[in-house]
């Protein structure tokens, strides 16, 4: 757990480089890769919000259904109620948070594996409701022709958000702000309490921490951001349907989180970026579509066997090596094994 919290000069340089990369990204990749960038950035938020939820030690399998709740709610607000899209998106995120709040009551009576399966059941029931009722959820075909983010026309500047590069910047802005919020929560007292509940829940309760309230808080905040990601997704693709939020998608979130690493806040982000690039760019580029799932499965197995602590362990080792080369104190190098 101990890690350096202050940012040195190397850190600032790193951040600037990263910022430059993020801003330049759409212009150095191909058209189709721009589309991938948008989807990837949205998934970064999904995965980062999932991390917050897992800090309390409970792993929910309803997370993508929260994303779906935000997507469906935002779509309905915009299409059926005529809300302006930005407002609908916030509304969607709030609805996702509310759904999570409601689900907290039955779900947090369970722990561990039971919570895992219980959250799956609760999420799946909601998803089946979307599938069953054509009115208002559109049934198996879902909702289509969802309005996109409105064009910004200021006379001297026109930004059309249909263009993936522009939508990417919009999503990037929203996601960066969200990541900052999530990071601050993780590093705050609330975040510490989440950790405490995870590792020492009896002890925390004995000092008066209401575990249920904190678990619910983590669940609701995570759902809010997942819902926001869902709304961004809905207005980009202009369509939502129940298949997009099923157990397969949830499994991918799990894969990204676990392969990325669970001890650092950037772990899941590393996971989603690396695995998406491998799957969508590298494996597709080889051109053997039929074996792509096999190769991906093989990569997962190799990744988890050789990097049991996740991809983040590579980053940690690299930064340790850098630090040692500079002769600085190795206290930050203590890694949870």
């Amino acid at each position: 757990m101990p890690e350096k919290n202050t940012i040195g000069a190397a850190g600032i340089a790193g951040i600037l480089i990263l910022a430059a990369l993020l801003i330049a990204a759409p212009h150095v990749v191909s058209f189709s890769q721009q589309e991938l960038l948008v989807l990837l950035t949205i998934n970064v938020l999904v995965v980062a919000s999932y991390r917050l939820q897992t800090l309390t030690g409970e792993w929910s399998l309803a997370h993508v259904v929260m994303m779906g709740s935000g997507a469906y709610a935002s779509a309905l607000f915009a299409k059926s109620f005529g809300f302006p899209v930005p407002l609908a998106m916030i509304g969607g995120a709030i609805v996702a948070g509310l759904v999570a709040a409601l689900m907290s009551f039955p779900l947090f009576r369970m722990k561990g594996f039971y919570f895992l399966i219980g959250s799956f059941a609760a999420g799946e029931i909601l998803r089946l409701i979307w599938k069953r009722f054509t009115n208002p959820f559109g049934g198996p075909k879902g909702i289509q022709r969802i309005p996109g983010f409105p064009e910004i026309d200021l006379g001297f500047i026109r930004i059309d958000f249909y263009d993936p590069a522009n939508y990417y910047y919009l999503v990037l802005a929203v996601v960066l702000v969200s990541l900052w919020v999530l990071y601050r929560i993780e590093k705050s007292r609330i975040g510490l309490t989440f950790h405490a509940i995870h590792w020492q829940d009896k002890l925390s309760e004995s000092v008066g921490v209401d575990a249920f309230r904190y678990r619910m808080l983590a669940f609701v905040v995570a759902a809010f951001f997942a819902g926001l990601a869902g709304a961004l997704y809905a207005h980009y693709l202009s369509t939502v349907n129940p298949n997009q939020f099923d157990v397969n998608t949830m499994v991918y979130v799990l894969i990204w989180t676990i392969v990325g690493g669970t001890t650092r806040w950037y772990g899941p982000i590393l996971g989603v970026v690396t695995l998406t690039i491998i799957d969508e760019v590298i494996l597709r580029g080889i051109g053997a579509d039929q074996v792509r799932p096999l190769l991906y499965g093989g990569i997962l197995i190799l990744a988890i066997l050789f990097l049991p602590n996740g991809l983040e362990s590579l980053v940690m080792r690299a930064s340790d090596a850098l630090r040692r080369n500079r002769g600085q104190a190795t206290s930050g190098a203590m890694v949870r094994e």
């Binding site: 399966i117 599938k131 096999l294």
Partner: protein
């Protein structure tokens, strides 16, 4: 009406049988090794494709093909244990990821080897049992009989043999079992073989009835987890009884209402058990 009820009972018994085999297999693996094996449905699929290969293509007798399917699935299980679960013993989340990877590999191999489309298996028997107006075909009857026999054999094995005791000890408390000198690795291999073989046998026996496809494992795994939760994670008896309960509820609701509602009812049933009695109907111990 009584015919209709009896028919539904026959249908439910068949469903309960193969689900019980799959669920008991999953309990063994999860209960003994603490690993969530996402690829369990693909072990079922492997058993079904063994029948396609040995029975439909090579023309071996059905019973022989089922035996080969059982053995093949069991070996796949042991392979998973040796290559994936043992190195990841201390990392259950990692084991889950590895099992997902293995799932993708098995599915793709099935597509590459047998093609995308469903296979059909020639009928094993066209005979049937008719009671009143209700019909139970021999193919379905065999599944029910085989399930009863296999579970009885398993029960005897667990109660009477040394390995059986070791398995149950590991399921109850792994550390204590290790302290008693029980080899976790060996027990895990047995558990994986038996658990996988049970799933494989279920797939093999239902292959003539369901048109095997590379993705047939997908629906099974979710139902299997629901059943073992309802039955109680450490409990084999619980898995069997929960399978029967779930199959009967699902079949009856499907027959009298529809399949989507039956799925929702099944999930609600599971949630109810989780809320009211989290250890499951026959829960042995609470796993955190």
């Amino acid at each position: 009406m009584p015919d209709f009820l009896l028919q539904t009972v026959f249908n439910a018994s068949y469903a309960a049988s193969y689900m019980a085999l799959v669920a008991v297999g999953l309990v063994l693996i999860f209960g003994v090794m603490g690993v969530i094996n996402f690829a369990h449905g693909e072990l079922y699929m492997a058993g079904a494709y063994a029948i396609v290969f040995f029975y439909a293509w090579l023309g071996l007798p059905f019973v022989v093909a089922v035996g080969l399917g059982l053995f093949f699935a069991g070996c796949l299980g042991v392979l998973m244990e040796l290559a994936l679960f043992r190195p990841l013993r201390t990392n259950p989340l990692g084991g889950l990821i590895a099992s997902i990877g293995f799932l993708l590999i098995l599915q793709t191999l099935a597509v590459l080897g047998f093609g995308l489309r469903n296979q059909t298996v020639p009928p094993v028997s066209q005979g049937r049992l008719t009671i009143g107006g209700a019909i139970l075909t021999y193919e379905r009857l065999y599944v029910i009989v085989a399930t009863v026999v296999l579970l009885a054999v398993l029960w005897l094995f667990l109660r009477r043999s040394k390995f059986g005791w070791a398995l149950r000890a590991c399921a109850q408390d792994r550390e204590a079992a290790a302290l008693q000198g029980i080899s976790i690795n060996q027990t895990a291999r047995y558990a994986m073989f038996i658990g996988a073989a049970l799933a494989g046998v279920a797939g093999a026996m239902t292959a003539p009835l369901v048109a095997p496809s590379p993705f047939m494992g997908h629906g099974i795994i979710v139902t299997a987890f629901i059943i073992i939760i309802v039955g109680g994670i450490g409990s084999l008896e619980g898995a069997v009884l929960a399978a029967v309960l779930y199959a009967f509820v699902h079949t009856f609701v499907t027959t009298f209402f529809d399949g989507v509602i039956a799925n929702i009812v099944g999930l609600l049933l599971m949630l109810a058990v989780l809320v009211v009695k989290p250890q499951g109907l026959f829960g042995v111990r609470e796993r955190a």
